[in-house]
Symmetry: C4
Subunit: 114 residues, 4 copies
Amino acid sequence: MDQLDEETKKKFQNLTQLGQSLELLSQQKLQIDSTIRETEMALEELEKASPDTVVYKQVGGILVKSERNKLLDEKKSDKETLNMRSNTLAQKIERTKSTFENMQKSLQADLQNQ
Amino acid sequence: MDQLDEETKKKFQNLTQLGQSLELLSQQKLQIDSTIRETEMALEELEKASPDTVVYKQVGGILVKSERNKLLDEKKSDKETLNMRSNTLAQKIERTKSTFENMQKSLQADLQNQ
Amino acid sequence: MDQLDEETKKKFQNLTQLGQSLELLSQQKLQIDSTIRETEMALEELEKASPDTVVYKQVGGILVKSERNKLLDEKKSDKETLNMRSNTLAQKIERTKSTFENMQKSLQADLQNQ
Amino acid sequence: MDQLDEETKKKFQNLTQLGQSLELLSQQKLQIDSTIRETEMALEELEKASPDTVVYKQVGGILVKSERNKLLDEKKSDKETLNMRSNTLAQKIERTKSTFENMQKSLQADLQNQ
């Protein structure tokens, strides 16, 4: 590392940071996609249930009695919000990946010219 | 590493990849086996309960009222599916392990001949 | 490392320990802040519910029927306790960070003088 | 490592394995102690509740209606079993730690005599 010029060192640091960002974004997307699948399973159960089925909402260590139609609306809205966030993350990942690959090529060119 | 010939390097890379696959498959099996144990505990509770016991299904942050016999069937079917997946993974792990060990021996032979 | 004098080695060890403490404290704060957010979501649901809504408390693998007003008080008190712990941790993190940075500068000065 | 004699190498390997065992045992104890705390919180709620309070048992993605006195007995028995396991682990950890420290000293003596 000591023999590299300043600009190449900087590129190397940026590349490392981009790699870490990519990993973080991928983890966030995995988690949101898993919540989407759980929300879809909840929706499936609610859609199979009749409107007067007893349902509860579970949050922060408590259960509160609710209504099937109300929870159905809530979970549909949750799913939309989560889908939007997942798509935004997918775009961010795509852009970061492309920047990463360009910087990687540029760095490789630098290293071959030294 | 620089002194190894191309074929040996390739074997080394394949061995590393196989090791990572093995670890991933083992983690997946651990998780499925843990879900099987939880499903068996649910089945046990349902079998002890009378057919008219109040039961709920828990999914994606909601609870939906169900029936003991219905949940019993569902959990039995879940258990079968999970058992099949666990067995498939066990076979995959066995095959990957055997390939790993053969490649390891071949690599050791290569290294001793260099 | 072998060429460093005893005092510099000690500073290096202290710096490493402080770095580990900082990481641990940050993880604890993240976890408490996540519990605060969950508690706030529970409070929100309870505040929207009428006083006679059926509610349950969920703890250690069981559900116990409770009352909306009782759980509302409990969760408000939980939130206060959690907020105090989060603030105490924030102060500890701030102080540890400041000690870390001072020791880092002192160590850098030592290394340049050797 | 290459200059060490066979016996010292073996001691080193055993020491590493003991260290890994210690870490694993400590993690298992942490997890059991956390389940004990949760079981104690469940017991506390059940003890405060009147015998006719509606309670549910939560297991493997379902809720089954139960009775306060029945769950109280079950959770007391759970707590005893968990306490025994925690104590057994504490003893195992103590013994492993002592073996680890003896082997560490023996290894240090070997290294100084080489």
